[in-house]
């Protein structure tokens, strides 16, 4: 029975690897492109249309279709039909006058999602509504839960299996707990992968089972975490249920697999320098699994069979110091890389979660230190009262560890200050397209303060436009600031540039380009541009 189980687990692992190798490099290069919309982008209609249509360069499958009304409220468009390359969407309500945004996100055959929006107006133009990014809290809760399950499986399950294989004398104590944790991990891993796909596409939870979602998920780096995690979980099960000769080696490989799985994706692993962060995440994850995994089996052993648990306690207390040192050292270095500046601890969501985690760690380390230096010696000597205290203390430690996992799973939603700093330096770009002229305007960096602007000018039908002069006019009527008007200089590569431009305030500005086509003809094109806070 056990041998059969072991055999099937090996097969499962082999199949998962084969699947990943087949799917990951098989990405097609072409993406679907929008060819036409009805109503056309920028159209002004006299009455509310009965339906909308989007035509793409290849057949697509819609993920999210939303209509943003002039007041900014959103209407999910759920009734649509596919006709070759065209998506026909029913309009469920009579639209009021004003400018609407038809926002679409589709996935093409290659699994690559593309999104965009078309503006049209009923009756007359109004200010384009701002479509706020709605947060899908159900999806977020599910993602968080999936992560928590995965962490429970990796740390408590695999770490527990390792502790049972290497530290425990009597391996039946705590086995049920460890197997339960492994099952949580086996559920959490694929669940997390699917949710990752949903999140990457911005699709709702209802689309969990669609192939596009899983195809997308398989293209993210998270697939390696899940794959390595599943292999490690399988090896941990093998060490518990498999032949005794495989127990210790498979538990050891599984423990290393935890570190490898965590190093394969995530904020910290993505940070530079990679040669430092990935090994640190590996060490951090492996150390957590070693320590956290041993807690529950030790507590259960102490409660049920104090006499046999003594050897377990002695071995753990001997090994724990270097492990915790590695854990703390790798954690501190990673935190410094991610947070960069101490103020970010308070000012960013990521930093606040880190502070919360550190507070929980403080409690955990205090309890662990008391266990190690005050309780371990009498407990090993056979003091039953101390042993009972220790069981209680370990129970609390496991609870704190779970809380820490919960906090760490919350990092999934908070970009680290390091990434925020990179994002802040990114330019903000808009594309303005009219019949007479079109322009790509980039403002670098895309936040308030000292910036540079660059503009690429073309005719409305993508032809060259040899402008005599280009002037950028930035205005923000609601701020009481006079429009900022700057002439641009033509640079060698054909773009028009403005240096030393200061944008005094963040928010939505109106960017207008006055393009002097000939002595007597000026073309003015404009569009709103969102400037981030500094």
């Amino acid at each position: 029975m056990n041998r059969m189980l072991a055999g099937s687990l090996v097969w499962l692992a082999a199949m998962l690897v084969a699947m990943a190798l087949l799917v990951v490099p098989g990405r097609a290069l072409a993406h679907a492109a929008l060819i036409a919309t009805d109503p056309a982008d920028g159209a002004v209609l006299t009455q509310s249309p009965g339906k909308f249509s989007l035509t793409f360069s290849e057949p697509v499958s819609p993920l999210v279709l939303t209509l943003v009304r002039p007041d900014g409220s959103q209407l999910a468009l759920t009734s649509f039909r596919l006709k070759d390359q065209t998506v026909e969407i029913d309009n469920p309500e009579a639209l009021k006058s004003g400018t609407h945004v038809l926002s679409w996100r589709v996935v093409s055959v290659d699994g690559h999602p593309v999104g965009g929006s078309a503006l049209f107006s009923i009756g007359a133009l109004s200010a384009a509504p701002v479509a706020g990014e709605a947060v899908d809290w159900t999806l977020r809760a599910m993602i968080w839960l999936g992560k928590l399950f995965l962490y429970a499986g990796l740390f408590l399950g695999i770490g527990g299996a390792f502790a049972l294989a290497w530290l425990a004398e009597e391996r039946r104590r705590g086995q049920c707990f460890v197997i339960a944790a492994l099952v949580f991990g086996l559920v959490g891993a694929p669940l997390s992968l699917g949710l990752q796909g949903l999140d990457a596409l911005g699709a709702p939870l209802a689309r969990f089972a669609t192939p596009a979602v899983w195809k997308t998920a398989l293209e993210t780096s998270f697939v390696w975490t899940v794959l390595l995690g599943l292999i490690a979980l399988g090896l941990a099960l093998l060490s518990l249920a498999g032949p005794s000769g495989l127990r210790k080696p498979s538990a050891s490989v599984a423990l290393l697999g935890v570190g490898a799985a965590l190093a394969a994706s995530g904020h910290a692993s993505a940070a530079e320098p990679q040669w430092l962060t990935r090994p640190l995440v590996f060490l951090h994850g492996t150390a957590i699994a070693f320590w956290a995994g041993a807690l529950a089996p030790l507590g259960l052993a102490l409660r049920q069979q104090p006499a046999e648990a003594k050897a377990f306690l002695r071995r753990l207390s001997r090994a724990i110091l270097p492990v915790v040192a590695v854990l703390a050292a790798s954690g501190i270095v990673l935190a410094i890389i991610q947070v960069q500046q101490p103020v970010a601890l308070i000012h960013t969501a990521y930093g606040r979660l880190l502070l919360l985690k550190l507070t929980l760690l403080l409690f955990l380390f205090t309890l662990a230190a008391i266990n190690r230096w005050t309780l371990t010696a009498p407990a090993v000597a056979g003091d039953t009262e101390v042993q009972r205290r220790m069981v209680r203390s370990i129970g609390i430690e496991v609870a704190i560890v779970l809380a820490i996992f919960g906090v760490a799973a919350g990092w999934r939603f908070t970009p680290p200050p390091r990434a925020l700093a990179i994002a802040a330096a990114q330019p903000v770009s808009i594309h303005i397209h009219t019949l007479k002229a079109m322009a790509d305007l980039s403002i670098t960096p895309g936040h308030a303060g000292e910036v540079a602007a660059s503009m690429m000018i073309m005719t409305g039908d993508f032809g060259p436009l040899d402008a005599k002069e280009v002037t950028l006019v930035l205005s923000k009527p609601d701020s009481g600031i006079e429009p900022i008007k700057r002439p641009a200089r033509k640079s060698g590569d054909g773009t028009w540039r403005i240096g030393n431009l200061v944008i005094p305030l963040p928010g939505r500005w109106n960017a207008r380009l006055d393009i002097l086509v000939s002595d007597f003809e000026v073309v003015k094109i404009q569009a709103p541009i969102d400037i981030r806070a500094e």
Binding site: L516, D519, F520, E521, V522, K524
Partner: protein, 172 residues
């Protein structure tokens, strides 16, 4: 009587207020198929600088243009093909003046001057609509371009540098 004069004066002052800082034509209405004397009024230079040249683009349908020379300014015209042919006093016109330039002058910012040309408005110009004469005002190396033409439905007052224009009246 005096009251009426005052009211008319106030109306004039208010009505032309927005246009005071812009380049305008003295006569703001003309019938199609008539002869029009265009008097361009230059209220100021370019942000304090003296005006050194005035260039006017002649729109399609404005034919047989004859500018008035100005002492101290070099007068030039650029001729070109009309988009179609026009009949004037039994003659068929296919080419003519497309641009009038007065250059080499010096009109300080604090002084006022007028630039004049005479032209025929073709009979088939659309009565009831506006006809615009884009003007480039040069002040040494600076320039003000009075060339903006309001888009359909756009308020002319919203433009920063509108082209001077006249309203076309029905043929008399």
């Amino acid at each position: 009587m005096n009251k009426y004069l005052l009211a008319a004066g106030a109306l004039c002052a208010l009505g032309t207020n927005a246009a005071l800082a812009h380049i305008t034509l003295e006569t703001q209405e003309a019938a199609v198929g008539s002869t029009y004397k265009a008097v361009l009024r230059m209220p100021h230079g370019c942000e304090g600088k003296a005006t050194t040249a005035v260039r006017v683009q002649i729109p399609e349908g404005v034919i047989a243009v004859k500018p008035m020379p100005k002492p101290g300014w070099t007068l030039q015209v650029k001729k070109g093909k009309y988009e179609k042919s026009y009949q004037l006093y039994g003659e068929t016109l296919t080419t003519g003046v497309k641009e009038v330039d007065w250059s080499g002058g010096n009109l300080p910012d604090e002084f006022y001057d007028e630039f004049v040309f005479r032209a025929s408005l073709a009979a088939d110009l659309p009565a009831g609509q506006m006809l615009y004469f884009p003007v480039v005002q040069e002040c040494g190396d600076a320039a003000e371009r009075w060339i903006e033409i309001p888009a359909a439905g756009q308020d002319e007052d919203a433009l920063e540098t509108p082209a001077p224009g006249i309203k076309l009246l029905p043929k008399k």
